[in-house]
Each structure stands twice: as C-alpha cells, then as structure tokens.
C-alpha cells in the first residue's frame, strides 16, 4: 500500500471536525502509516502553515492537533521504554554470572576510640566506697570483739588455761566411762548453753592446737568428734599426779604385774 498522506494531510483531516481518535485511526488503518513515522515536528510545522493560511482560528482544531501530537509522543515513548526493558532483560539472562572475584576490597574505616577522664563525681564515689569499706572493716572487727566478749567474757574474766584443765578432766572421765578414745564434743560441755559451748570450744581448740587431741567434724554445724592422740590420755595426766609410782614400776619390770599396784594398799 502506498502512503499518500503526510503531516499536512493530517492537519487537514483534523481541521475537518473529525475527533482525534478518528484522525489517527484513518491515518494508521486506511493510509497504512506507521505512527512511528509521523514526525511530530513536521506535524507542528504543517499546523503552523495551516493557521497562517487560515487567518482566523477555530480553537477545536489546535486542541485536536495537540491531543494527536501528545498521543503520538506517548506511543513512541512507550515503545522506547519497552525496547530498553527487553534489552536489559536479555542482557541479564544471557550475560555471565556476576563476577565477584575482582572486586576491590573495602578499607576498614579508621575509628577513634576516645577515652574520657574520670569525673569528679566518680572519684568522690570511689572515695566514698573506700571510706565505707574501711568503716565496715573497722566495724566488723569491733563487732566481732564485742560478741566474743559478750559470750566468753573479757580476757581477764576468762582463763583459758583453767578451762583446758577442766576439759582434760572431763575427757578422761569419758574415756573411763566409755572405754573409748573418741567422744562427741557435746559430751564435754557441762551445760549446753551458749557461754559454756563457746568457752569449751575455745579450750578444745587450744588442746587440738597443741596436738593432744584431733578434732573431726563431718559437716558444718554438726557434732565435732574429739579423739585423743595416742599417749595423751589419763596416763599422761597421771604422769604428773602419780609420777613417783610410775617410776617405781619402770624400775621393777617383768616380775611386777600391774595389779600389784592395786593390791598394794591392801
């Protein structure tokens, strides 16, 4: 089909009271013109010539022509966008996978690590803490001393040596009664009262410290077992009381059976 219409012809058509859709339909379908080939610039020029020739102006004609030009521009723009998208899609599909091996490496940003001064408040806070610790420590010692004195009496009132002697008498009593070198600490305390318990414990700790008894406690706050260390039972105590007798026996070995001693007074 031979195209017979040009831009000036379109202006003619538009001036003959056809709507803009009709004009385009005629140009494309009847004249077989590709809208892509309509030159919008030429169209504008043709319209100017038309207006000059006419002398007067019917506003419907320019309105129609502007719509026609706009519609053409829109169509052309859409075609262009579509083409671009298709190209991009093709490139994305066909192109090689992203090559990440040759990417330059980022540099770590250089960061500051600002430090600050200790504030006066913080120093005063630390001071306060130091003061409290000191106070607490002093307080603790005072309170402990008070409590000990409350229970065991002041140093002058409580004679630990006397207590040790007393305890030894008791230990030996128990050994004699039970025929055993081990006994519960509770059996050594005359009355189960705070003061007696603490004083006895102090005494037994002294004795244990001298190595004359061994103390055993399986669990905290449970019974303490007192075991006489070999050679520290009544014999040793006796050694002071019956010193002379014992020496006699040593001097007269073998023939002198121990029971002689008991028979003697008879």
């Amino acid at each position: 089909m031979r195209i017979t219409i040009d831009e000036a012809g379109i202006v003619d058509l538009a001036s003959k009271e056809a709507s803009w859709e009709e004009v385009l339909e005629y140009v494309i379908h009847e004249e077989g013109m590709d809208p892509w080939d309509i030159d919008v610039v030429k169209l504008a020029d043709a319209f100017r010539t038309y207006v000059e020739r006419l002398g007067t102006l019917d506003f419907k004609v320019p309105a129609r022509l502007i719509i026609i030009a706009a519609a053409l521009l829109h169509l052309k723009a859409e075609v262009l966008i579509l083409e671009e998208e298709q190209k991009a899609a093709a490139a994305a599909q066909a192109g090689p996978p992203i090559d990440l091996s040759k990417i330059p490496e980022l540099q770590v940003p250089v960061k500051r690590a600002p430090t600050r001064r200790v504030t006066l408040d913080e120093l005063v806070g630390a001071l306060e803490k130091a003061f409290r610790t000191q106070e607490r420590r002093a307080g603790r010692i005072d309170r402990a001393r008070e409590r000990v004195e409350e229970v065991v009496g002041t140093e002058e009132q409580f004679d630990v040596m006397k207590k040790i002697d007393e305890l030894f008498v008791r230990i030996n009593d128990v050994v004699e009664r039970l025929h055993s070198g081990t006994m519960p600490f509770s059996s050594l305390v005359p009355r189960w009262e705070r003061k007696e318990i603490v004083q006895s414990l102090l005494g037994i700790l002294h004795i244990s410290n001298d190595g004359r008894v061994e103390l055993q406690q399986e669990e905290p706050f449970k019974e303490i077992y007192v075991k006489i260390v070999e050679g520290n039972a009544r014999e040793e105590k006796k050694s002071e009381e019956e010193h002379i007798d014992e020496n006699e026996f040593v001097d007269v070995p073998d023939e002198t059976p121990p029971q002689r001693k008991e028979e003697k007074p008879k």
């Binding site: 996978p97 992203i98 990440l100 091996s101 990417i103 330059p104 490496e105 980022l106 540099q107 770590v108 940003p109 250089v110 960061k111 500051r112 690590a113 600002p114 600050r116």
Partner: protein
C-alpha cells in the same frame, strides 16, 4: 551561641565515640535544635580551613567529628584498629560494588561461609536482607553509611576507583593497609 555552649558543643563532638543526633547534642548544650544546627554549620565552616585537621560529618542526621580524609592514613596507627574481619569486609565490598546482589551470588563466589558473614552483617545492622525468591537480596543500610562515614554508595565506588588507579600507578600496595584488617581466616591472601 555563647562561648560556654560553643565550648560544650566542641567537647561533646570530641568526646563522643559515635555520631550524635541533634537531640543528644541538645541535651548536652541545652539549646534548641535549630540553634545547634546553625552552630554546627558555623563550626563545620571553620574546620574547612586548611590548617584544621578535623571536620564535621553529617550522615543521616547524625553528626561526627573526624579526621579529614586527607590525613586519615597518616594518623590511623594512633588508634586501635577496627573490628571487621577480612571476610566480612570482602562480603561487604561485594555488596557495595554490585548492589543489589543476592546471597546466592555471594555463596557462589566464596562458598558456604557466606551465610555466616551475611548473618553477622545483618546482625550488626550494616546490611539489610530481604527475601527474594529462594534467596535474599542484600542492600547496604544507613548504618553502613554512618559506620563508613560516607553519604552514599557512590562515594565508595569513587574511592574504589581512586584506589585502583593509585594502585595501578604505584608500587604494589603497602602492606600496612592489609595488616590493619583483622583476618579471621588467619592467612593473608596474596593479591
């Protein structure tokens, strides 16, 4: 702005270990935010003078005083180095350069370690991961911009270009650049 407040503004920017919002500055300086903004502009202008070594950087509405980029390399050794491992940096640079990129792209290049790296980067808020089909699409966050002290990804690409050009010209890259990075891989890569 009265002298005392001006001094406080400088003290705050100097002392902070992270970029400060206008609110944070306002709390210290006790002034309305618009006045602070004006003072920040003034200060920034002063710092532009050539004899000054620091500048004010604004990223995403947060302000930071930092050494001017021109001097950074010369003073970087005076500060303990940053806390991004070599592996993390590598993944980050891939995202910078090729954004938007998917997690599977990165896995293809560096293997399964990529999953851990991506997770750490998203945990640290430097990267945003969004579902994208069966994988995730990765993008840089504002926090990334703040951390690296840049305004846009293009700043970085520019830096890359410049760096490449420098390296092409000069001798092989100085080792100090690499050593500053904490390699979690243990071995230094030969480039």
């Amino acid at each position: 702005m009265e002298v005392q407040k001006r001094a406080l503004l400088e003290a705050a920017l100097f002392q902070a270990n992270k970029p400060l919002t206008l609110e944070e500055i306002a709390q210290v300086v006790a002034l309305p935010q618009d006045e602070i903004e004006r003072s920040l502009d003034e200060l920034a202008a002063e710092l532009r003078a050539e004899h000054r070594g620091v500048e004010i950087l604004e990223v995403e509405g947060k302000y930071e005083m930092r050494v001017k980029p021109a001097h950074v390399q010369k003073v970087a050794h005076l500060t303990p180095h940053a806390d991004l491992s070599r592996g993390l940096l590598k993944v980050l640079s891939m995202i910078v350069y090729k954004q938007p990129i998917t997690q599977s792209d990165i896995v293809k290049t560096i293997g399964n370690r990529a999953y851990d790296y991506v997770k750490e980067l998203t945990d640290r808020g430097l990267v945003r991961a969004e579902k994208h089909g069966r994988t995730k699409r990765l993008e840089l966050t504002e926090q990334f911009m703040t951390y690296f002290g840049i305004r846009s990804r293009n700043d970085l690409i520019e830096m890359f270009r410049k760096q490449e050009a420098d390296e092409a010209q000069a001798a092989p890259p100085t080792p100090s650049t690499d050593e500053k990075i904490n390699g979690e891989d243990g071995v230094r890569e030969v480039s």
